[in-house]
Structures are given as C-alpha cells and as structure tokens.
C-alpha cells in the first residue's frame, strides 16, 4: 500500500512526510534532530520530559514533537529562541534535581542528560537545588538503582511494563516526591523482577546500572594461584564494538579474543561451543519427548530471564522447560569437570568467568542446582558486554588497533549454529539443523530456516521431519511469551518445540549490551542490525551444525559418552521451582 504523504514546513522548508508521522520523525527524516529524554518509540510515548518542544504556527502553546502528529499544511519551528529557551529551562530544572557527580558517574560521556546540557549551554543552574544524597537500591543480584540520578523519564517503567509486561516498577508518590520503585517501595529482590536488565538499557542517565563484577574478576586475575578462564556468549561479539565507536552490527570476535588474552585470562574460550553442546542435549531431549510422550511443547531454557518469568508467572509450564542448563552454565560446568580433569587443574584453583549480553546471568550463576562439582559454582563471575568494554578501556588497550585472534583450541571451536544462538530463532534453527539430520539420517540441503529468523515477537513454522510434522514457535520478549503461553493454555495453539528468550530480539538485545541513546534506538533497530552480524558469520562458515563440531564430538567420545547420558545429566542439566513474590502469587 502506498504511504499517504502530507506537505508540511519545517523551519520554513517545505517537505513531504508520511501521514501519521510525529513531528520528531518528520524532522529526523529531513535531517533535523530534536532532543528527547522520555520518548521511546512504541514504548514510551508519554510526552513527559517536555524537552522536545517545538513551535507550531497557530498552536496555543509549545507542542511536544515526540507525540504530536503532523498534518497537512502544518508549519513547525524546531529551533526558535523560544524553543531553545524552553529546552534550556527544562534541562536546568531537571539538573536542579539530579545528583551531579558526572565526573565519577558510570554513564559519564554516555549520558543523554549530560549531552543535552552541553548542547544547550547549561553551564550553570539558576534554580535552587537541594543537596542530593545517593538513594541506592541494590537488593537484586543484577542491578543498582540510584534515584538521586533519576530524571523520571519513565523509560525503565515502560520497558518493564510495555516491552516486557512484567510491571514490577512504577512511579511512587506524586509531585516532587515522585520516584521510581516497586509497589509500596518493596525491594526489587522481593518482587517478580526477572532481572532482564531492559530497564538499564533504556536509562538515559546513571540512575540504573548493572552490578559490576569487574573487581572480582580483576582480583582473580591478580591471584597467581588461580587459573582463570573466560568464555564469551554469542552476541557479545555482535555488539562490543559499539562501545568503541564501531558501527552497530560489526562482528568483533577477533579483537574481542585478542583483548581478553591481553587482559590476562589463562584460557579464552567460546560459550558458542557450549551452545553446540546445548543443541546435542536439548535435541536429544526433544526427540526423547516426541518418542516417549513427554511434556510438549518442549521449551528452551537458555534465557535465565525467561526461566525466572516462567517460575514466577507460568509455573504450570515448568514440566515443559528443557532440563538443559543454559550454554553459560554448561560452559562453566564443563570447565569445572571436563576441562579441569583434562588439564589437571584442581577445581578449587579454577576460576570461570563469562562475558554475557545479559544481566540475568548474574542471577543465574547463583541459582540452586548449578554445581556440576558439588561445592563449586559452575561459573564464578559473569560480566556484561558493557563491563568488558570498561575492562578493556581501563586496561589501556587500544581496541580498534588490536589484531584479530582466535579462541584457545581447548574449547574454542563453535559451529555457525552455536553463533546464531544470540539472535531470536537461533536456538530453534540450530536445533532443527541437528534434529533434522538425526531423524532423517540425511544431510540437509539447505541449512537456513528463514521462518524462524527476524525480529517479530512471535514466529511460527511447521517442518516435516521424515514424515513427522513438527510445529515450532519462536518467541522473544516476555510480553510475547505471555501471549503465546496463554494461547497454549487456552488450547488455541499446539506446538512441539518452542524457543523463548526474555529479551525482544533475543540475546543480541540483552540487558547487558552496550547502551544506545534514544536518538539511536528510536531510529535504528538494534535487534536486526546486531543479528545480522551473527547470521553473516554463520553463513560464511563451513562448520554450521552443532553435531559436526569436532570439540563436541570429542567431548562425548572422551567424557560424556552420548547426549542425554547419565553423566551428561549430572553435569549439564538442572531443575526449576515455582516462585512467589513478596506480594504472593505473581500470576
């Protein structure tokens, strides 16, 4: 269908823009930026911060560009003295109630408020401001909120409510006392927060950040008695470059490996290899359930945010969850068992670090039933992609000038199937590649399962595996998970295999990934751009099936015997439990 266009004037220049655009979008389409703080496309069109005000001829007062639709003949002015003055005053007001410790703030130089304050020449504030003290809530394993830096844009609330449909945070009190928190100011650790970290990703200031584990990692590296290994998740390489000014969607695997090696890790490994192991175990589990009438659909268990969501909101689906640990935990478990034994390293001297696009992984490493060797957590510390970038900068490594290196061979070969785990649909596609070949006994002609790729929240497909029709669904974002699970519960949908990732678009858009300001998020689909990096890496490889990974074969031959073996179960599988928030049943 042809898009209807309207004629408007922006700053006296006649332009044509699609009908239904907002002033913000119209201006951007002709190369004019309008500053915003609260607005997030599709998520937070609340017009609250008032920074994006513009003049519209004939309007009674200033209008907010982020939500104001254009109409035929409209004349917009984005840069008049009145507009600039209003924006500056708004910034001055916000800053008058913002704890200004910009020099030491985790978001210094990556803070949207700081940027606009500089852009608008806010070099002083004429309004009284109270001495603000830190107002910290750090009850959860993954997140620190400091409301003294919060500007009440509500982007975190929108991420929690509108993106993820969790709604554990909201505005509390009113007027000047308004602040973000859980109902009745309850601690985040006591409510049904799934630790996805999407709130952090959308925070324009330093009010939200992950709980850093860098000091622990640094201490381990400095300990001569420790053998410290690191593994990186698939999507870290698809986004890490952004924190070094590289284009969104650049695959920086080689430089990432080089950096980790220079940071002093004794082994630099690929969690993608563990992803291949996951496919072996989960594929076997799927076949077993299909053949033996097990609980269907089988639902993936790679995403700890999703697991938490399931345990809180849909405990009736716990029997459907794959008993497989996530790739991170399989990686850690295999390090503490197979690798330690093979290398002759006493397990107490082995320190396993992972780099993840995810904040829920910080929760996952402390979950019950995640110790392949009793008394030793599978993973000792996990840092986000953002923390790794900070680690690299702090070490003085000139990232963009680093050579491209490869993972250490002991656990450093992964198939393309392992790589695409980072994108929504990746686990499904990887599993289908392996399961198809096992069932049919024939090599697939075409390895791409396009139906399960892409950024749509819910994707469905049917595949004929040697006469058996397998119905699959791929869901990302817990809001979409809710819809799908409700449909399954209502009997409206039947599937055999379902992939669910807590974050929209999958891990590439995880809560631990580099933060992009709203000025980017609102106009670039981070999910699609980052996913491309993974799919193109997969497409360029010859090793594209998990079951063909030589390390995986060796692992089973030498150690685990076969997928789903008793030993594999002891090391690579886990269990789940229904949970309640402090307010009772979260359902």
């Amino acid at each position: 269908m042809e898009t209807k266009m309207v004629n408007i004037k922006i700053n006296n220049v006649a332009v044509q823009v699609p009908a239904g655009s907002t002033i913000l979008e119209a201006a951007r389409s002709v190369g004019i930026d309008i500053p915003t703080l609260c607005y997030l496309k599709d998520l937070n069109p609340i017009g609250a911060c008032r920074l994006c005000v513009c003049e519209v001829r004939g309007a009674r007062s200033l209008v907010t560009a982020c939500v104001y639709p254009v109409n035929e003949g409209m004349e917009v002015f984005t840069n008049t003295p009145a507009v600039r003055k209003s924006r500056k005053t708004t910034l001055e007001l916000i800053i008058s109630n913002h704890r200004r410790e910009c020099l030491t703030c985790s978001r210094s130089q990556n803070c949207e408020l700081q940027k606009f304050a500089k852009d608008y020449g806010v070099d002083d504030w004429k309004f009284a401001s109270d001495e603000l003290l830190p107002d910290v809530e750090d009850s959860s394993p993954h997140l620190i909120r400091d409301n003294s830096k919060c500007i009440l844009c509500r982007r975190c609330v929108a991420a929690c409510k509108n993106m993820q449909n969790i709604s554990v945070i909201g505005a509390i009190d009113r007027g000047f006392d308004t602040h973000i928190g859980c109902a009745f100011d309850e601690k985040l650790a006591n409510v049904a927060c799934i630790d996805c970290g999407q709130c952090i990703n959308v925070c324009p200031t330093g009010a939200l950040r992950e709980k850093s584990s860098l000091d622990d990692v640094r201490a381990a590296l400095a300990d001569p008695d420790k053998h410290v290994v690191v593994g990186t998740a698939p999507s870290v390489r698809a986004a890490l470059g952004e924190d070094f000014g590289m284009a969104i969607g650049t695959n920086v695997e080689g430089k990432m490996v080089a950096a980790l090696r220079r940071l002093g890790f004794d082994g630099v490994f690929d969690v993608d290899t563990a992803a291949d192991v996951t496919i072996m175990e989960e594929g076997t589990e799927l076949l077993h359930r299909l053949e033996n009438g097990g609980a269907l659909p089988l639902i993936t268990s790679c995403s700890p945010g999703w697991i938490r969501f399931c345990e809180y909101f849909y405990p009736e689906f716990i029997p459907n969850l794959s008993s497989c640990k996530s790739p991170q935990q399989m990686f850690g478990a295999l390090m503490k068992t197979y690798y330690a034994e093979k290398m002759g390293i006493p397990v107490e001297k082995l320190y396993v670090v992972t780099v993840m696009p995810c904040t829920a992984k910080k929760y996952e490493i402390g979950r019950e039933d995640q110790q392949a060797v009793k008394g030793f957590d599978d993973v000792d510390a996990t840092i986000t992609t953002r923390e790794l970038a900070e680690f690299i900068k702090d070490a003085g490594l000139r990232y963009t000038e680093l050579p491209d290196e490869t993972f250490d061979p002991a656990f450093g070969i992964a198939s393309g199937a392992g790589h695409i785990f980072g994108a929504s649909g990746g686990v499904m596609e990887a599993a289908l590649r392996t399961v198809s070949e096992i069932v049919t006994g024939k090599a697939l002609e075409k390895l791409e399962f396009h139906e399960v790729r892409g950024i749509e929240g819910v994707k469905e497909a049917e595949y004929d595996l040697a006469g058996t029709v397998v119905k699959v669904a791929v869901v990302s974002g817990t809001a979409n998970a809710r819809k799908l699970l409700d449909a399954i519960k209502a009997g409206e949908k039947q599937y055999h295999f379902v992939e669910i990732m807590a974050c929209p678009g999958g891990c590439v858009n995880g809560g631990g990934q580099p933060i992009q300001p709203a000025s980017v998020r609102n106009f670039v689909d981070l999910r699609a751009e980052r996913a491309k990096a993974l799919y193109s890496e997969d497409g360029a490889m010859s090793l594209r099936k998990s079951h063909e990974n030589p390390i995986v074969k060796e692992l089973y031959d030498e150690y685990l015997e076969k997928p789903g073996s008793h030993k594999a179960h002891g090391i690579l599988h886990t269990s789940y439990t229904a949970r309640k928030s402090v307010f009772g049943d979260a359902k």
Binding site: L51, V67, Y68, S96, N97, F127, R174, G175, F176, T178
Partner: protein, 599 residues
C-alpha cells in the same frame, strides 16, 4: 391529607451542621403531636445558603428557617406547624437572624441572597427529595430524554446543544456541542460518556451539591449525550470523599433502571444506555480529563498528551465525551426549553448561568447561581452580603488554584469566560474565594502554589520541578530573603511552566503568582525591599512590640508567652525579645490595654 411540607436541607454543609438530627427530632415531635399524616418532611439537596445552615423551609407559606438547633424544633412544631405562627426569631431575613416581624418576612426569592440568582443547574436543589425519582419526574424530569429518544435524531440533539452556546462548566469553557459533535463523528462501535465529578478546587462544592440535590439531572443528561454520540455506557467519576453524593447517585441509578430510564430499550426507542460509578481517591489531577480516564482504566491517574483528544481516543482508547456535572445539569432544560430560551441568558459568548461556591471573607458563604455576565460586585456585595467585620474587599480568586486574583478595582467586571481570562483569571469550575484587607497576596499565591505542588502528579518536568522551584522562591520572599531578581525568575519560570507543562494543572499552576504579580506587585516589593508584609500575615516579617506608654506592667503577657520572650518587672513597661519571639500573637490577645501591636 398533607397540609404542609417541611423541606430540610440534606446537603453536605447542613448535614455537617446537624440537619439529619433535626429531621429525626422533627419526626419524633410530629409523631408525638399526631401530625405525621398532615406534615410531610422532605430531605432535599442544597439550598445554597450554607452559611446559615442548617436550614429548613416550610410550605405552603415558604418560611425559611436558618441556623435551626435541635432545641428549636419543638417550638417550630408547636407554634408554626400546629398554631400557624411563624417563629420569627429563626426566620431568615436579609440582615441575618435578627428579630423579624411576621408581616415583614420577605419571600425567599426576594431576599438579597436569592434575588439576583437564576437557578438552572440548581433548579431542583433544595426543592425535591433527590432520593425519590417521582419528585424529579414531577419537575419535568426525564421529559427531555423522552423527547430526544422519540422525536430527535442524534444530529438534531447535537445541533441544539451547539446552538445553545453551552460551554463546559468544568473550567476551560470548551463548547459542549462541538465536543459531542467530534465524538459523534469519530467512527466506532464502542464509545463512552463520562461525567467529571472529581471536584477538587479548594472551597468548591458546586458539583457535589448538584449530585446531592439532583442526581437524576446528571443521569438524564448523560443518557442524552450517549444517544447523541452513539455510546451505550457511561461512567460517573466521583470523589470517594463525597459519600452523600455517591449514595444519592447509587439510589438514583437504581431507580432509573427500575423505571426503565436506564438500561435496555429506553422509552421503547431501542436505545440502550447503562451507567456505573467510579471513585476517585482524591487526587486533584484526576479532574483533568485524560488523567480521569486513565484513572478509570485502573492506572495511576496521570494525564496523557493530547492529541489524540478524548473525542477520538479517550477511555480505553475509544471515542469519549467527558463533561462536568454542572454542564450536564443544564442539558435537560436546554432540550425542554429550547435554544432561544438558553441564548437569552448570559452574555454574547457565555450563555446560561454559572454556579459559584462563594467562600472566604464574605457574609453569606454558600452556593449561588447567577446569569453569566453578572458583575462580581453583585455576587460579593448583594448576594454575599459584603465583607464581615467592616473590612475592606481586597480581591477575589476565581478558578481555584488555576485561576487568578481579581483586585478590588475590577469588582464591576461582568463575569464570563472571556472577561475572566482577560483580567488574568479564569472561570474554573466555580470556586470564588473572597479576600479582605487582612490578606497578604504573596501569602495567597504561596497558598495556592503549595496546593498545586502537593497535587502535581509528577509526570512532566515543568510541573513536577518547576512549581516546586516557584514555591521555593515565594518561600524565600515571604521569609524576608527575597531579591528583586527573584521576581524576574518567578515571571520567567511561570511563563515557562505555562507554555511547557503537559496538562491544565501545570499550565495554570503559575496563574495565582502571575495575577498577584500583575495587580499586587507592590506587596512583593514590600516583602523584598522593605522586609515588610503590609497585611501583617507573613510571620518572618513581623515583630510584636509593646508600647511602653500603654503598658501597665500587669505581667499578663509575660506569663502567657510560651517561649518566655517577654520580660519586665511588675508595674513597669515590658519588652519583647524579638530574637526569642515566635510571633504566635498570644500576648496581643492577653493584653487588656492594647499595648501590644504588630510592626
């Protein structure tokens, strides 16, 4: 056979001053004298003259008794109801409750309080028993609905409302007919009609009185609106703090349903309309239309950006008409009496009447309804009976915390939407606060701002932080630390908030400051430059002084002073240590020689 009716006000004001108890005693007294079959008691809505409550009126003669106490009932029954002699000491006259001779009693409509009033929205308040639908029907109730459903098309209904010139009585004065037309023109299977009964201005009780005194008028009007725009469900959003209004609405809705005036196939027309109540928890911002709908939806009551306007995307995202209680109360009469009749009342741009809650420093506080264009002077001096204690009129605040102060020299301004805006105030929902010479205008601005700061929802920057900063500047000025630059900052920031805030609450919050700066700047300057509060209100700028000439050294003040700030020996003049003095004024009240004064 009933030979006499006694109407007792059952509004909130008179209920607070004990009217329910009066009714109980009256029932007992009548029963004791065997008059139950002859005298009928009717509990009505508000008469308006709350200052003189509890009030009752005896028909057929129309004697109006004010400030009736429980012990007066026996006398009224014995003298008036049994022997036909008016109890003159209780009968209301213009001059108050003074002794009046029976033959001099003016009829109620001739008293100064009622003479200039024209009761359209309040037509049934104080006249009918709001808990009996038949009484409403007897006053032509539901006649307009019948006419609309059986004789008129929705477009004709909207046309009548549009041509009548009726404008929203909730504050902004948007033409009601146009609002309905927008919602009617928006396609949609599901539409809603809402009533804003979240009256929140300090001192305002117009809507409460209509709901308490004439709930069916609102129900009838909402049903008409539903027919006009194609809605089948309505919600009355009423504050939970209005228990009497809620109870009467509940009764009225139940009775209307029982009579087939709500529900399926009303008047056999095939038109269905249902009505439910939703309670507000008292947040002022929920009187803003989008916040109100957000609250009905079960969300935190916060406004949302417009467009989209409610007529396009309102409650639950559906086309919605939202009007205020008083607006609805006008609708049935407009339908019954016609456009010309309504057009003949009021001014060129503001048709009809307006109800005001007249409060503050005025003799007759209460509820008044006057034609648009009535000068402020008429309301304050004639209807309100002037300023008590011989004080001078200084200013009147209309529009509550969103409005502005009208100074004494503008007292002859005819009140309508445009005139009020032109002089820096606004109609608002109808609060009218009268201030006398003892009022400090900086303090008043601070009072209203404290209210809006407290009631700001906290969503937008301008209101959340901006109003707080305004208040801090006012605090600085009233505590004697202001600078002339502060006045510039006040004006600049006030202008910023007006043009930038998300909703009406924020956009109008600076009005009390702007209007007092406009008319009473000298008072601000006195606070800043002379460190003086001309009205003697701002404590930080006051000091109490003992006149040594007048002081007899009786020591009464020194003994009364709670902080021992007064010293002096017996029979010698005392002195106040201003450093210790907390300016409570206890000494002034204690002194029998007028020796202590404020400086």
């Amino acid at each position: 056979m009933i030979r006499s009716h006694v109407l007792i006000c059952g509004g909130t004001g008179c209920t607070s001053s004990g009217s329910a108890k009066l009714q109980t005693i009256l029932e007992q007294e009548l029963a004791a004298r065997g008059l139950t079959e002859e005298i009928k008691i009717v509990k009505t809505g508000c008469f308006g003259l709350c200052e003189h409550g509890p009030v009752m009126i005896v028909y057929p003669d129309g004697t109006f008794y004010s400030r009736v106490q429980p012990e007066d009932i026996a006398e009224i029954v014995e003298e008036h109801l049994l022997k036909g002699r008016v109890v003159t000491r209780l009968a209301y006259t213009d001059t108050g409750d003074g002794e009046a001779k029976t033959d001099e009693l003016p009829s109620l409509s001739d008293t100064a309080f009622y003479r200039s009033q024209q009761r359209i929205a309040l037509r049934n308040c104080g006249v009918i028993n709001p808990e009996v639908i038949d009484e409403y029907i007897a006053m032509d109730g539901y006649k307009a609905l019948g006419k609309v459903l059986t004789e008129m098309t929705p477009a004709e209904v909207i046309d009548v409302i549009t041509k009548s010139g009726l404008r929203g009585r909730g504050g902004a004065g948007f033409p009601t007919g146009r609002k309905w037309a927008f919602a009617a023109a928006t396609p949609g299977e599901i539409k809603y009609v809402c009533c804003n009964a979240d009256e929140g201005d300090p001192g305002a009780f117009m809507d409460r009185s209509v709901l308490e005194g004439d709930p069916h008028a609102v129900i009838e009007a909402m049903t008409i609106a539903g027919y006009a725009i194609g809605a089948h469900q309505g919600y009355v959003y009423v504050r939970a703090e209005y228990p009497i209004a809620i109870e009467r609405l509940r009764i009225a809705i139940a009775q209307a349903k029982e009579y087939g005036l709500l529900g399926k196939n009303i008047f056999g027309s095939g038109f269905d309309f249902d009505l439910d109540l939703r309670f507000g928890a008292g947040a002022f911002v929920c009187g803003e239309e989008t916040a109100l709908m957000t609250s009905i939806e079960g969300q935190r009551g916060e406004p949302r950006p417009r467009p989209p306007f409610p007529a396009v995307k309102g409650l639950f995202g559906k086309p919605t008409v939202l009007n205020n209680v008083e607006t609805y109360a006008n609708i049935p009469l407009i339908i019954n009496n016609g456009v010309e009749w309504f057009n003949s009342i009021g001014t060129e741009t503001s048709k009809g009447t307006k109800v005001f809650a007249l409060v503050g420093k005025v003799n007759n506080t209460g509820l008044v309804e006057v034609p648009m264009g009535t000068p402020l002077r008429t309301i304050i001096e004639e209807i309100g009976g002037g300023i008590p204690n011989g004080k001078k009129f200084k200013a009147a605040q209309t529009g509550g915390p969103s409005g502005g102060c009208i100074p004494a020299h503008l007292i002859d301004t005819p009140i309508d939407y445009e005139n009020l805006l032109a002089i820096g105030s606004m109609m608002g929902s109808g609060g009218l606060i009268v201030m006398d010479e003892d009022t400090c205008m900086v303090d008043i601005a601070k009072f209203f701002l404290e209210f809006t700061v407290d009631e700001s929802c906290g969503k937008c920057t301008a209101c959340r932080i901006g109003t707080k900063r305004l208040l801090q500047i006012l605090d600085k000025i009233t505590s004697g630390n202001g600078t002339m630059e502060d006045l510039d900052t006040l004006e600049e920031l006030a202008a910023h908030i007006k043009t930038t805030a998300l909703c009406g609450l924020g956009q109008t919050a600076p009005n009390p400051i702007l209007s007092t700066l406009r008319y009473f700047k000298d008072e601000y300057i006195a606070h800043i430059v002379d460190k003086r509060c001309p009205a003697g209100v701002c404590k930080a700028l006051l000091s109490y002084v003992i006149d040594a000439e007048k002081c007899k050294g009786c020591t009464a003040c020194a003994r009364k002073c709670p902080v021992n700030a007064i010293s002096g020996s017996v029979k010698n003049p005392h002195v106040i240590d201003t450093a210790k003095c907390i300016k409570c004024g206890a000494c002034v009240e204690t002194c029998r020689f007028d020796a202590i004064y404020k400086k």
